[in-house]
Symmetry: C2
Subunit: 148 residues, 2 copies
């Protein structure tokens, strides 16, 4: 779940990432990407600040926001929106999946389970609602909180 192979981001030019031409490879940028790659689920900007900050010494919140925006534009990461939560980000290329939020620790995890809502894609529901996409979040207890 944290291998470079998964997202296709491997040794290439400069720092080792696949980034647009005029986008430089800085230690901060690398740390942010690494933090997102190693996380069990999408991270909020503040979580990115914490985790990437632990990897790379100094890191400002503005830098995190700037990079998240830049990397999203570059298609390296995608924004994830959960109900009643601030925006989160995760690396692209992980295919269609949904998230699980623990009621206890409030952590958000990526699920491997097959999508139970796929059948509705492209369907027009009674009432005339044409479905083009969906957002599903499961709630409950994560493995750790269940055990404790």
């Amino acid at each position: 779940m944290s291998s470079d192979a998964q997202s296709g981001r491997a040794a290439e030019g400069r720092g080792g990432e696949r980034l647009p031409p005029d986008m430089r490879s800085t230690s901060q940028r690398r740390a942010i990407l690494q933090a997102l790659d190693e996380a069990p689920g999408p991270l909020t900007p503040h979580q990115v600040l914490e985790r990437a900050g632990a990897i790379q010494g100094s890191l400002g919140l503005a830098t995190v926001y700037r990079n998240l925006a830049t990397l999203e534009e570059a298609g390296e990461i995608v924004a994830v929106h959960l109900p009643n939560e601030t925006r989160r980000y995760e690396p692209t290329g992980r295919g269609h999946h949904h998230h699980f939020r623990c009621d206890n620790c409030e952590g958000v995890f990526e699920l491997a389970t097959t999508c139970p809502v796929a059948v509705l894609e492209g369907v027009t529901l009674p009432g005339g609602f044409e479905v083009r996409g969906h957002a599903l979040t499961l709630y409950g207890l994560c493995p750790r909180c269940r055990g404790a």
Copy 2:
């Protein structure tokens, strides 16, 4: 979808609503409840201000917020959270359902469709995630925007 029978709110004491003992029935409160009852889906505080304000002459934003909080505590309405949207409210007693958000007009509607995620309730997913609830939002085009 706008009948009083549906939510069980009918002529009873005072102004006509079923409200806790020390909660007074004011014209503002009644307008707010009516606005929520007649809406095709959950409303944001500002939408409540607009709609209830159209019913009842003067209405302040603070009054709307106060009443939404009070009515929620009283169990008359429930908060609805959609991804990347501000909190909305709808009357209680409409059973399990999900919402549809139009990509074009951005309106949010209540769906009558049976829940495709029900099968996951109570299940423990591979990985050890114990499902206790879920949030599903469908996106696409509403009847009106589809026609236009």
